[in-house]
Amino acid sequence: MTTTAPGITKATKPAKARRGGVMGSTGLYIATGVAALLFLIPFYLIVRNALMTDPEITGETWKWFPTSIQWGNITEPFDDVTVDFAQSLWNSVVVAVLHTAGILLVCSMAGYGLARIPYKHANTVFYAVLVTLMVPTAVTFVPSFVLVSSLGWVDSYRGLIIPGLFSGFTCFLFRQYFLGFPKELEEAARVDGLGYWGAYWRIVVPNSLNFFAAIATITFINGWNAFLWPLVIGQDPSAWTVQVALSSYMTNQTVNYHLIFMATAISILPLVLVFLFLQRWLVQGIAQTGIKG
């Protein structure tokens, strides 16, 4: 191969590459397509089961599609008396929205302070933040629960939201981001007579919306999907988030397949929408920061 004359190599190579290209790309698309179908099976199962009757789901032979689509199933999780599904959905909305807003506010400001405001003990403070990265938050749920229960915050929005706001990791990400923020913009603001506070809100934040959007999307998804902490804090069903409610369906005495899957579909829908519309920021954010939660 390497010994052939350069002229021949040059002549054969493009042809070969093209041939390999066509055949290779057919194989490539088949492989990708099969993988994609496998990845879509769970979504298909949710929709199928959510729109079927129970006798069809549990029937003798497998049915790929419902014989008649049961649109009436949509209201069933809301009429169920054993689990207050509507309340749990509302709790999840409140928790995920406030969790996201709170984290963005608190962690971005701290990140900016650490990155940009000169202070002689700034490094000490930064190390205190770094140390918390070594301790995984999931492992500290026992001590956190101990603290939150002595504050009397069990079964409350405060207990669900506030302890999760002080994410050393998000603060760290914002700091890294602000270190790379163009200084000239801030200096221009300084010339205009703005202090740190004014420069931050009028110049820095409006020029960082892409990064904020990326962090917001990831944070919202994590807030909506969180399970361990809401499970620990939500002792009373009225404080359950939708994830805790879904989990309770699995341990119920009677299993109502179509209802459970409709509830699952409803719980996933907002995120799938967020996902499809904000995917650009999400992908960008993940590629930039390499994180989720």
């Binding site: 990708t32 993988a35 497998w62 405001i117 070594m134 492992v139 101990v146 200096e187 361990l228 620990v232």
Partner: protein, 321 residues
């Protein structure tokens, strides 16, 4: 770290530009502003991160059942109890087995998907979205689909239905630890949920590999395919691979949601966090032993992270990126 110090040194530069203002008041104002910006976060960090950790270490030396303000100091008894507890030790075995499956599997699948998607010319965004979409689904919802439909132990579960077409009897996927089919369920659910996320990381890394490397390799006679993958793509992905493996390991260590929902009532396949949950928040409410367990797990994960970072050169890889 080096960037921190250089930035710190470079900081005062703008102050010189705005000379007219008296220097001392500027410094005072920057101290005030520093605390204005970081204060709320730091107060929260102390109350909700440092205090619980400290409290937990304190509790771990006390007999603390049903109370968080105990008075009976027991020394290392809680640690002894937890380290000799068969359930706790089994949970570490469970984690090890789980990590041994899920870390390589996710690494390989996410890299494979990234390679596939990266080579597509048409519909690349579509396929990327399809593989990425499961990231939006919660572990609870996925566990529900796996337990109630995909791997339902009865005949109308999809897996058993497909096996039935080939004349295979129903398999009790989760209800029977022998043979341990539950591992297939546990591993596939996480594989489905997280592969798309790591695929994005790999796609970003693949696009950062200089094209000239491949051109140079083809001039040198390397065949496209395995050879270039082995000698160019893989080494170029080293930093990302290391980071991905570390993230996967830490995530596996903290696995709770799918185990709790798939195997909550079982006695097998219980990872560390589920054991901790049962110990501290179960019927006994033993906060002392639960706290001791949390301390042990935290120390373990720190050691594992540092060791792995050292072995795989995590820090170096990240800085060169």
């Amino acid at each position: 770290m080096s960037t921190t110090t250089t930035r710190g040194v470079a900081q005062p530069a703008p102050a010189k530009v705005s000379r007219p203002r008296p220097r001392r008041s500027l410094r005072a104002s920057s101290t005030f502003n520093f605390w204005l910006f970081t204060g709320p976060f730091l107060i929260g960090l102390i109350i909700f991160v440092f205090v619980p950790i400290g409290w937990s270490i304190w509790l771990s030396f006390f007999e603390a059942r049903f109370t968080v303000t105990p008075s009976e100091f027991v020394g290392f008894d809680n640690y002894q109890q937890i380290l000799t507890d068969a359930n706790f030790r089994n949970s570490l075995v469970t984690f090890t087995v789980f990590a041994a499956f899920i870390v390589p599997a996710t690494w390989a699948l996410s890299l494979g998907l990234a390679l596939l998607v990266n080579r597509l010319r048409f519909m690349r965004a579509f396929f990327r979205s399809v593989f990425f979409l499961p990231t939006a689904v919660s572990y609870v919802a996925a566990a529900l689909i796996w337990k109630m439909s995909l791997f339902n132990g009865v005949r109308f579960g999809l897996a058993n239905t497909v096996l039935g077409w080939f004349g295979v009897d129903n398999i009790a996927w989760l209800a029977n630890p022998d043979p341990p089919w539950y591992w297939l369920v546990i591993v596939t659910v996480r594989l489905w949920l997280q592969s798309g996320f790591y695929m994005i990381l790999f796609i970003a890394a693949l696009q950062n590999i200089p094209r000239e490397l491949y051109e140079a390799a083809s001039i040198d006679g390397a065949k496209p395919g395995w050879q270039t993958f082995r000698h160019i793509t893989l080494p170029q992905l080293r930093a990302t691979s290391t980071a991905v493996i570390l993230l996967l390991l830490v995530a596996a260590y903290q696995a709770f949601d799918e185990f709790f929902n798939l195997l909550g009532k079982a006695t097998w396949g219980q990872p560390p966090l589920v054991e901790l949950y049962k110990m501290a928040l179960g019927q006994n409410q033993n906060y002392g032993a639960g706290s001791a367990g949390a301390v042990v797990l935290t120390l373990l994960i720190c050691v594992v992270t540092l060791l792995q970072g050292k072995i795989m050169g995590f820090g170096r890889g990240e800085e060169s990126k």
